[in-house]
Amino acid sequence: MADIATAIPAAAPAHEVRAARLSAFVRYTLLTVVGLIMLYPLIWLIGASFKTNSEIFGSIGFIPREPTLEGYVKGWETSTPYTFGRFFWNTFLIILPKTIFTAISCALVAYGFARFEFPFKRFFFATLIATLLLPNVVTRIPQYILFRDLGWLDSYLPLWVPSAFAGDAFFVFMLVQFLRAIPRDMEEAARVDGANSFQTLIHIVVPMLLPALISVMLFQFMWTMNDFLGPLIYLSSVEKFPVSLALKLSIDTTEAFDWNRILAMSVLALLPALIVFFMAQKYFIEGISAGGVKG
């Protein structure tokens, strides 16, 4: 009893309260400063997109002296026969099938690995995980030759098709981990209720897997949105370019770079990912933590 009584001070002395407040002040100041430093390029980007070309390199501050929309207007028109709207549409054409294919194929494969016994299962799963460790560039050349021989160059097929066959091992792994954390009782109840494996997947597993599936789709959305190398390798006609290539295009074709156009379009290119992220933030974080921690 005496030990407990001495362990709890009646009231913290005044100097301790002061020290605690000071430490909090220092911590928050430090965090704010570091946060601002990390965000500064982004803030600068947004500010600079409203600057004139001459001002961009003239000052380090991010507030434009003479705000102008010229960058956005001219940038949207581009130096090609197409507006930026076309490139956004192209990006959308790549992302939509890819995201849907990824969700379907990865859910199927993960369900198989997590819930069924089949010969060489461990070997196949180990192989799948091993591909996670393989650098992407290693497979670029064989993949390119394969798609070339199939006659798929300069089409979206090389970008879509791998995702329809659960090409992203990371997503399969994430879903398998998530599934392992879900008890099987519900699926067994469904089987007793007369559902076959596929009906169980559709009616029971997918709804329970939804948070993880949403984060898979979000990841795929963002990665595809930002993917530069894939479209660069497989697409050659400008009319099929997604936003990521189009941004590069404006640097290539003009002799004197109109930086404010590039920056303005970069800001626009950032928007979809940001909007989607904030809309789905709840599921996104749920999915990451559930997939990563519960495994």
């Binding site: 008890p183 067994e188 109840a189 469904a190 089987r191 007793v192 007369g194 559902a195 076959n196 709804p207």
Partner: protein
Amino acid sequence: MARLQIRNLEKTYANAFKAVHGINLDVEDGEFMVLVGPSGCAKSTTLRMIAGLESISGGDVVIGDTVVNRLQPGKRGIAMVFQNYALYPHMKVRKNLSFGLRLQRASKAEIERRTADVARILEIEPLLDRLPKELSGGQAQRVALGRALIKEPKVFLFDEPLSNLDAKLRASMRVRITDLHRRLKEEGMSSTVIYVTHDQTEAMTMGDRICVMKDGRIMQVADPKTLYDRPANAFVAGFIGSPEMNLIEGRLDGATFRVGDQVLALPDELMARLRGWTGSATLGIRPQHLRLNTGSGLTGRVTGAEFMGHEVVLHLDVAGARMVAVLPSADYAALDRGAEVRLSPEPGTAHVFDGAGENVSLPVLN
């Protein structure tokens, strides 16, 4: 109408562990059969093999006239209630109940009629539009029960359905389930039940017959009274009844049972049941069947006494062995710690088990 037969049922896992050793069990149509045993006795595995959730390594499961070994769970005419309810978390109660019927493509009117019927019987009408996470444990278990009931199966399978509930709720659900079973039977519906539990109170109060299992083998199948009065072996004797039956090791010589330096003269009726058997033996006496005695009996030193109001639970040391006796509370005054008392079994209640644990003192049944 569905009778369930289990013939030489075996389960061997991939790692060569044999969980079920060729068991045989007949469950009559409309019978409430309880599978009971300590954890790891393979009662749940047996149930899951009947359900089709676990593959069968050997033997047959017959429901009605059909060998169902290779049938999918949904085609066996069974319904199952799981320990943790296993309600579909994203479906409202109404959809949870009707999921099976919707898979069978039953008509909308049929689904509605049966949902309403089941909801009325189980008093879950106000819960129909709730999600499982908005239900209490007892409510969730009633919904799980409803999901089984709505299918009108040939055989109901229960896998420790009450073990997640608190004691009070468990008692009321117990009554509810037995009532339900009786009503189904009276209405002429299929009402064969296999009920798995590790709780012997549940087994004794609910079962028409009880199948006691241990290590993948059946120890005894009988109605509760037979199981209590005439256990086939020391395991059943110790497992059924609370407090546990006293099992005292000693030696049986002629008309006496020796334990340590004590000698208990055996009554004539026990001698008759033993039919001249002698040797190393275990004497089994239920705590409730011990009485204070001034004459012959086993002498024990009191190590503790628990006053329960209507009775006293007495802990004793008899020649180094622990013993428990349940006595009328009128005796409490005389029972101090350290006191020596003399106890003997009521006539007709003691059992003698041989070295292998078999009961050698069962009366000859005509």
